[in-house]
Structure formats: C-alpha cells, structure tokens
Amino acid sequence: MKKILINFAHPAKSRSNINIALRNAVENIEHVTVNDLYANYPDFMIDIKREQALCEAHDIIIFQHPFYWYSTPAIMKEWLDLVLEHGWAYGTEGKALAGKVFFQAITTGGDASNYQKDGYNEFTLKELTAPYRATAKLCRLTWLPPFVVTGVHQGLEPEEIQSYSAEYKRTLIALRDSLLDLEVLTQQETLNNNHLVSRSE
C-alpha cells in the first residue's frame, strides 16, 4: 500500500464548503496524512525539515487547494520556495522526491466551460497547471493531471458535493492500492472519471 500526503491549503476554511467536504472524505483513510499548511504555519514560518521528512515518508504527494488566480494560495508558493531545496528536491544530488507521484486537487469558481480554448479563460486547467508539471519534472516526480471540482461559485448542490467527495475518496484509495494505470492517466485532461483506466492485470 502506498502512503499519501495531502498538503492542504485554504486560508479561510470557515468559508469553504467543498474543500472541507473533500478533506473530510479522505482524512480517515488508512495511509493518508493531511498536512494543513495554514493551520500548521499561520505565520508562514514553514518548518523545512519537518516538511521534507513528511515528503520522504510518503509515496504520493497531493496539493489540495482552491485555484486562486490560476495558481495556489500563497502559502503553497512559500512551501515550494522553501521546501524544494537544491540538493534535496532537485540538482544532481537532489533525488528525495524521485519516483513519487504528484498531483493537484483543485476547486475552481468558474465552471468547466470557462476552462476551454474557446471558453472565457482561453486555457484549459491542464495548461494552467503547467508550472506544477514543470516543477514535478525537475524534481523527478511522476506528474498526474489535476483532480478538478469546477463551478463552486454558483454553489454546488449537496448531492454534487457528495458525489465529488466520493469520487475523490475512490481515487485516493485506487492510487494507494496501485489500481490505476498511471501512463494512461497522464494523457487525460483531469484525474476525474478515472475508473475507466483501471489496470488490466
């Protein structure tokens, strides 16, 4: 069984519905660790040693966060800047993350149609998350497309929230138990609907 680390970032948890629901759905799964960055480092004083140790102790690293300005909340950038040190995460000697799986679980205000070439934002989510794909490559991580919840601003129905949460949970369990074909997943636009790519063996 693989170990999963969720680096969770939401600066206003009391105003979040979907992120809390997603987190609650997976928090108690065996081999899943939730690392709430804003709760652990309200002053942005990220403990680099602790964070690196956490990464080393897990096989799959997830960044779960709302999609702010086509990117992450600020603390996640701080995390990248401080934790991904040369000689640890990258560089000739930097192989601490090599071979681990990385993906983002993001929630967006606009609905899915905005994130199309001919949509309002003109870029797809896969395109907009390219910096993380590049980061993953530099750190020798296996990158997967993001798990996506769209249309949060219009308000999601309780059934929708429930179904997204269930899907998130299912995905994490499948990844933990190595049930998915990562090669095929990489080709997809998003990590959603992954039950179609179960490994055949």
Binding site: S14, M45, L82, H86, G91, T92
Partner: protein, 616 residues
C-alpha cells in the same frame, strides 16, 4: 443554647447523611431532605419538635432563591419572557383553579371551594427549581416554560393574599390581622395603603438601580469579605422586611431586587455569597416539610388523602398538558412540563394558614388538604426520577449531519484579571466576536470598564464560588492575566482540580514564573514582555536600515527558538549551576542557529527566486 445547637446538629447531620444517599440513588437532593425530615420527625425518630416554627423561619430560603433567580434574569430577558409568563402562567393558574373549584364545589360551599382552587393551583417553586437546576434542565424549553409559570404563580400569591379573606364564611376565632413588627399598614386608609405599597416597590427598584452599586463598591474597596456577605444578606432581608410591612410577598421583593442587580458587576459576587445560605435554609425547609407529614392523620383517613393527592396531581397534570398543547410546547417536552408543576406548593401552607385565621376554611377541611399537598410535594422529585428513566429509552438522534462549524459567540471563556494585559486580550477577543466573562478584583477598575460596555464582574478570581458563578463548570477556556504569580498559581491549581475540562492560557511575569507554571503542567504560558521586546527589536533594527522582511523573519526565528528551548531549560533549572551553563550554551547555540537559519532561508529564497539550476 444547648438545645438549639442540638436541634441544629440533628438537622445538619440528617441532611449530611441522607442527601448523599439520595443523590447516589439518583433521587436528587430534595427527596433526600424530605426523607431525612420523615426520619427525624415526630412520626419517625421524634428527634425534633417545633417543626412549624422551623418551617416558617426556613421559608426564607425560598425568598433567597427568588433573589438568586432574579439575579440570573436581566430585565431584558424578563421582558422577553413576558408572553410565556402571562400566557402559560395565567392559563395554568386560571384553569387549574376553575377545575379544582369545580370538583370541590360538589362537597363545600362555593367560597370555600374557590379558596381551595386558588391555593392548590400553586406549585412548589422551591422543589421544582432546585430539581430542575440539579438535573440541568433549566435551559430546556420545558424548563423555561416551567420557570415562567412559577414566576407567575409567585406573583399571583399577592392578589390571592388580598382576595382570600373576602371569601370568609365562618366566624373568626382569633384575631385575623397580620402581625407586622414595624407598623400595621392595614390601619391606614385604603388609598394611602396603595400609595405606600407602590412607593415601597419604587424604592426597591431605585435603591437597586442607583444606591446599591456605589455602596457595594465602597464595601468592596475595604477588602473585608464578610462585610460584603453581610451587606448582601442585609439587602435581601431588608427588602423582604419592607415588602412584608406593606403587605406584599417578600419573595416578590427579593426577586425584584435580584432583577435590578442582574446587570451590575456584583452579580456573581452576590450570587456566590447568598447561595450557601439559600441552600442551607431550603434544605432545612425541605426537612421540615418531611417532618410535618402527619402520619396519624394520613393513616386515619388514608383513602381520603390518597384520593385528594391523586386527584390533585391528575387535575393539575391534565391542565398542564392542555396548556402545553395550546401554547405549542414541542411534543417531547410536554411530559416534563406537566410533571414538573403537578404538585402543590409551599405557598399552600402559608395560604391555608391565612384561610384558617380569616375564617374561610375550617381546620377539618385544611388538615387533609395540607397532607395531600405535602405528599404531592414529596412525590414531585420521585416523578422527576421516573420521567428521567422513562425518557432515556427513545433517545434517537436526528439523522442530519451536524455542521462542525462552531459559532464564535458560543464559546464560553472566562478572563481572570483585567489589568494592563487583560484589557488588551479582552478587547482582542471581543473584536473577534468572543465575549468572555471577565473577573477583576479592583472595584473602581470594574465600574469604569462597565461604563465602557465590557461585561466585567467584581470579585477575587481565586475563589472557587466566584468561579462557579462565572460559569467555570461549563466554560471551555480560562485566560489568566493576573499580575501576581502566586494568585495565578492558586487559580491554576483550583481550576485544574475542580474544572478539569477547562483549557488554560496564562501569562507569566518572567522566565522563572513560566517555570513555576510548568511545574503545574500548564502548556500555554506566555511571558508577558517577550512579544513587546521582539516587536521593539524589530522596529529598532528597521530604524538601522536593515531590510524590513529580513528583520521580520529574524524576529520570528528568534521567537521560535526561544520557545523551543524552554522545556530543556526547565528540566535543568533546579540545578542552578547547570542551568547557567545551559543558558549560556543555549545563547551560543541560538546565535549559531539564527545564523544558520538565516542563511538557510536566504539560500532557499535565493534558489527559489533566481531559479538557477546548475545543471541546466
């Protein structure tokens, strides 16, 4: 003197033995007192005599209880309750009186039946409130409704006292005027009587509103605790005396005095001062009720009294159910509401006494009724116990998922000390929507802060009873900002012992004080000057032209390391020498660490921002 002490000893010993047993059996203290009364009463071991005199004296416990009830009730809350008080209360008293009158009029002339109806419609404030409080049911819907009805009943006693003598049909045997020690108001003409009565009430309200607080403040400033207790007792007794003199119920007067003082900063102090007296008096009052059960009479006319008791409880219970349906009390709360008020009350003893002296009812009618009332009062706590056992079973929880968002306003926080440090913490908490109950022992400070709109109470926070009144039993967090380390340690020890659920955050004068709190296993200790020192340091360095963000970062690192080395220092502080060595070592290490961290961070930032990968 010896005889008095012996009586007192018997009462206290009986209470001390029976109440713990009753509580252990889950029966509540009231039942324990009542049984103790039966055991030591004339029909038990016959250890006490003059029960009636004792009952009259200890009735004063009811007055004190109403004073305390008033203290809990701010005028604004009372105003909110006006509908239930008039609605539930009015309906209950009216309908019960009519029903009982309807039954009694079959056997007796209508005037006598009406008197009985009125008297029996009242319930026992003492037993019901005591039991509800003990079972933590006061804040439930049923509890609030019960309270509203009891309040109305207490008010209704006053017109009843006036009406009952008008129903007289018998020739009066003795003198029927009421025996006032001061002067007899009934000798005055009618309109002056009314005027005197009204001015007495206004006097109580005005005194409570304007005179009490300066007086209490002056007394508080003397710092002599028993004088404050004396003043509090004097206030209650004085009010009662005044009310009795003008022919009103002393309970009502005490209640009014309580309501007027509910907004004052001395509320908790008064509460904790009066509480023990009330408890003792009520306890002895209940014992005397138990002791006054006339078993000879009960066994002689067993069926009659049994019928009266059952009839009384049945009629009142049914009327209460009816009221609860009409006023839409929620279904699961209705049985408690009905059971709680289905007994006769202690006012019945007083009023029956009045009907006897004013020639309304004959002794032959009164005796069995008094027994029935006493038995119904005895049964009341029993019925509470039965209700509790019955309602435990269908404890289905609502299926809907509860939101785990806690409203900030629901947090119960006690802030002990409102000096230099406490003021800023208090302001900060309030600005975040958390309203602490604030305790401070500087009366001048307290009155000033109250003018500014803070909820501040006067009192020494290291006293257990004051903590209790401030709600420590249900509070979540205790913030201690007392300037004096010894007092703070005392408070910590007290809170840990009696309220283990309380989280504690404490300020420490210096490092040594922090160690002393660590001795008490407190986790959240804040050295009061550290934060300011570092902020000043930051400002100073900025003045020197050091990069602002770098200074900020340095400050945070310094703080973190300083906090981190506290446990190690603590371990070794007993050995003075080692401590000093370690302290120096830590300073060296701190410097080293800071440099190291500093470099690490700068390096990390450099790497991040310049993104120079040597391999590309």
């Amino acid at each position: 003197m010896e005889a008095f002490l012996l009586q007192l000893f018997i009462f206290l010993a009986a209470a001390a033995i029976s109440v713990p047993i009753a509580k252990k059996l889950g029966l509540g203290s009231v039942l324990g007192y009542l049984m103790a009364g039966i055991v030591i009463g004339p029909f038990g071991a016959a250890l006490i005599h003059d029960v009636e005199a004792i009952m009259h004296f200890t009735e004063f416990g009811v007055v004190m209880m109403l004073f305390l009830v008033g203290l809990e009730l701010k005028p604004s809350l009372l105003w909110q309750l006006r509908t239930p008080i008039l609605g539930f209360g009015g309906a209950q008293v009216l309908i019960s009186s009519v029903f009982i009158w309807g039954v009694a009029v079959v056997f007796l002339p209508w005037q006598q039946a009406l008197a009985i109806g009125l008297i029996l419609s009242l319930s026992s404030t003492a037993i019901v409130l005591q039991t509800l409080q003990e079972k933590g049911k006061m804040k439930t819907e049923a509890g609030q409704s019960v309270f509203a009805v009891l309040l109305f009943q207490d008010l209704a006693v006053i017109p009843m006292l006036a009406i009952l003598p008008l129903l007289a049909t018998l020739t009066i045997s003795g003198g029927a005027h009421h025996d006032s020690v001061l002067f007899d108001i009934s000798t005055l003409p009618n309109y002056i009587q009314i005027l005197v009565t009204i001015s007495a009430i206004v006097f109580v309200l005005m005194t409570g509103k304007f005179a009490c607080r300066p007086i209490f403040r002056t007394i508080a400033n003397t710092g002599v605790r028993e004088i404050f207790v004396a003043a509090a007792l004097g206030l209650v007794i004085g009010t009662s005396l005044l009310m009795m003199t003008v022919g009103l119920s002393p309970a009502l007067g005490a209640f009014l005095a309580g309501v007027v003082l509910a907004d004052s900063e001395f509320r908790h102090e008064l509460e904790s001062d009066i509480e023990p007296f009330k408890g003792l008096l009520l306890g002895i009052f209940f014992i005397s009720i138990g002791a006054s059960l006339n078993f000879t009479l009960i066994s002689d006319s067993f069926l009659l009294i049994l019928g009266l008791t059952c009839g009384l409880i049945a009629i009142k219970g049914l009327v209460l159910l009816l009221v609860s349906v009409v006023f839409k009390i929620s279904k699961q709360e209705r049985p408690l509401f009905a059971i709680a008020l289905a007994q006769g009350g202690e006012f019945a003893f007083v009023l029956f006494q009045l009907t006897k002296t004013s020639g309304v009812l004959s002794i032959e009618v009164i005796e069995p009724l008094i027994s029935a009332v006493a038995i119904s009062m005895f049964l009341a706590p029993v019925m509470f116990v039965i209700h509790e056992k019955m309602s435990h079973k269908p404890n289905k929880k609502p299926v809907e998922a509860s939101k785990d968002v806690i409203e900030k306003g629901d947090h119960k926080v006690i802030l002990a000390g409102f000096g230099r440090l406490g003021t800023d913490i208090g302001r900060f908490l309030i600005s975040a929507g958390i309203k602490p109950v604030i305790l401070d022992h500087d009366a001048n400070n307290v009155s000033l802060l109250r003018k500014l709109g803070f909820e501040v109470y006067y009192g020494d926070a290291t006293r257990l009873d004051l903590l209790e009144s401030a709600g420590a039993a249900t509070a979540e967090l205790l913030v201690i900002t007392l300037g004096d380390t010894e007092s703070a340690k005392q408070l910590v020890a007290l809170a840990k012992k009696h309220y283990p659920q309380l989280k504690i955050v404490v300020n420490a004068h210096d490092r040594e004080a922090a160690f002393e709190f660590m001795d008490l296993e407190i986790e959240h200790i804040y050295r009061e000057t550290l934060g300011t020192a570092l902020n000043m340091g930051q400002a100073a360095m900025k003045q020197l032209g050091v990069d602002p963000y770098e200074v900020h970062r340095l400050k945070q690192i310094f703080y973190k390391k300083d906090v981190e080395m506290m446990p190690e220092l603590y371990k070794l502080r007993c050995e003075e020498e080692k401590y000093i060595v370690l302290y120096q070592k830590h300073h060296e290490r701190l410097e080293e660490l800071m440099k190291l961290d500093h470099n690490e961070n700068l390096m990390a930032l450099d790497k991040a921002w310049t993104a120079k990968n040597p391999e590309l």
